[in-house]
């Protein structure tokens, strides 16, 4: 596969081009067809990895679609880097299989896997020029000299840093260095690009800019990407799919919307975005709608699966963004009477802490009329459809 030059190929035509390329390849090389048809680029099959007695990754199953941008999201120490390093070949899984581009690579040494790695602190070779850094991987791939120079130049164009060939990494800013690191990893046309918190060493403004840029480059090249971060915003902004991890386990694997709207566990609900977690008991459950008696005494309606049995204890999850404050409740909505305990005014939005019928709720609202202040009496409402129910095992009832 050839990396198309971004400036010469209109972005919209890229998928079409690639499809044509695929068909042509199929016709001319029937054997390669199987390869092109499989859409799984990386497949982890019950991968476990232990450091001595400590289990860093527990029985992880993860299939990553070709060309997609997948984020491993979780708190520090949950095993994200370990998974990335096991795909790269820097650590060996204790058990399980790792398949990349249809090839079982458990026993393939790192330098014979075709994988692009980008580290948090860039890891550009400090004694080599930008040009030599980018060309490094090409030298080991029998690419002719002239071709190397051409590819290096194209890679620099791709990361929007033309003309820095002769500079040393120390002469570049952090953001520029990270672009070079990206170019160095992409120029070898790897089967998968692995990024371990690549933006966390940059300052806030630059991070946001690089986030967008990285995503654009990934789209243009169409490269399968696994991105590791502990920053939920980054994950939500960039990913096709988010894999939420905790304690070496996958908690949830879904699109950003799925993970945000329907968290599959208490951990996901509290790690990703702001949620209100309210304890209660199912009073009745008919036709997908449950009445729930909250421990605080109030009663609410919530959308519920049939498995939510009468009398069972549940936790109701309501996103802080889904609470309406001081508005006329829509028909069928839950309504609680409360009082503002604290206001954080953020200009366009406000975060309220509200004491309502024995509950302490957080509401992140868009301000359209006026801002409520501490002590104001307000009504809080939310739709039953915005409720997610967790069972006693802290997993979502399905």
């Amino acid at each position: 596969m050839e990396i198309p030059h971004p400036s010469r190929v209109p972005r919209a035509t890229l998928p079409a081009l690639r499809a044509v390329e695929g068909v042509l390849a199929c016709v001319s090389k029937p054997l390669a067809c199987y390869h092109l048809m499989t859409t799984t680029a990386v497949d982890l099959k019950s991968v476990t990895l232990t450091y001595g007695p400590f289990v860093a990754v527990k029985d992880v199953d993860l299939a990553i679609e070709k060309g997609s941008f997948v984020t491993l999201l979780g708190p520090s120490g949950c095993g994200k880097t370990t998974i990335l390093r096991s795909i790269a070949g820097l650590v060996t899984p204790t058990s399980g299989e790792i398949v990349v581009a249809g090839r079982l690579i458990n026993d393939v040494p790192i330098y014979k896997r075709n994988i692009g790695l980008v580290f948090q602190n860039y890891a550009l070779f400090p004694h080599k020029t930008v040009e030599d850094n980018i060309a490094f991987g090409l030298k080991y791939r029998d690419v002719p000299r002239l071709e190397i120079a051409r590819k290096v130049k194209r890679a620099l164009d791709m990361v929007r840093l033309p003309g820095v060939e002769k500079k040393l990494p120390s002469q570049l800013s952090g953001g520029q260095q990270q672009r070079i690191a990206l170019a160095r990893a992409i120029v070898i046309e790897p089967d998968v690009l692995l990024l371990d918190e690549p933006l966390s060493a940059l300052d806030a403004n630059l991070r946001e800019e690089m986030r967008t840029e990285l995503k654009i480059i990934q789209r243009e090249v169409g490269i399968t990407t696994i991105f590791v971060t502990h920053d939920q915003e980054e994950a939500l902004a960039m990913s096709d799919r988010i894999v939420v991890m905790n304690h070496g386990l996958i908690e949830q694997n879904g699109t950003p919307e799925e993970v945000y709207r329907t968290p599959s566990s208490r951990f996901v609900a509290s790690f990703l975005g702001q949620s209100n977690l309210i304890a209660g008991t199912i009073a009745s459950n008919t036709r997908g709608k449950a009445k729930i008696t909250l421990d605080s005494g109030a009663s609410i309606d919530a959308a519920a699966p049939a498995s939510a049995k009468k009398g069972s204890k549940v936790t109701v999850v309501v996103r802080a963004q889904r609470l309406e404050v001081g508005k006329k409740a829509a028909a069928g909505s839950n309504r609680l009477q409360g009082r503002i305990a604290a206001t954080s005014y953020l200009g366009g939005t406000a975060i309220y802490i509200i004491e309502a019928e024995g509950l302490k709720l957080q509401a992140n609202t868009i301000i359209d009329t006026h801002v409520f202040r501490e002590g104001d009496a307000v009504d809080v409402s939310f739709s039953p459809g915005d409720c997610v129910l967790l069972g006693e095992d802290d997993r979502r009832l399905a």
Binding site: I110, F125, R141, L168
Partner: protein, 272 residues
Amino acid sequence: MKVRQAEDASGVWGWRAVKLLTIAVYVFMFAPIIVTVILSFNASMFGGFPMTGLSLQWYGKLFQNEAVLRAFKTSIWIAILTAIVCTVIGVMAAMALTRYEFRGKQLMNTMVIMPALVPETILGVGLLLLMKWAHQPRSYLLLVLGHIMLALPFVVLVVQARLIGIKRVYEEAALSLGASRFSTFREVTLPLLMPAIVAAILLVFTISFDNITASLFWRPPGVETMPTQILAMLKISISPEINALGTLMILITVGLPLAGGLIGRILFGNRQ
């Protein structure tokens, strides 16, 4: 107010005392060196003050002294050989000790550093006894091996310190880009290690060139190194020639590392 003034005064005196002591220490350290250098240009037959005039005659005599020239050559060759072997082995040992996990690593670490901690006299006698026991004569080989043993810990320590500072991600990046372990070492680790290697070579050279205690035990019969030659000359008389010789030794053992550092800075200064 008064109290504070008193405190200030005692502070000032304290500082003066520290300064005085510092100067005294430096004088104590450098006076012998300076005296040696000055007296090496003294015209007088007797190697002491007062000076009777400036002269280079002792240097001239020195360069005609067969024994001194032979000892000088011997020392240089031993130092060069020791530096080469120590650097190669030391770099490999340091790599093993910092980059790989294996059984007995801690033990090996201690063993390598040990010769730097054990008094030289004991090392000297020990190696000699071992050779006796093995019925081996004292030879150049023994002398070089002994010097290697003495200097190796310093190479390992210097290179190890630098290796710990070279982040592993550089090597991991190289491997991920397709470079084998050897290519990674040659292309990434070695160049980043170069300043430490240059420092280690100079250090080893100096250690070997300067060594007297152990050399006295190990040298083959009739062979003198530069320091043992000086000792032998001292036994006969305190000739001004020795001052000239001492000055040259100082020039080599101080000048070489300085020059090396300078070259190192010019070569690697723009890197990281």
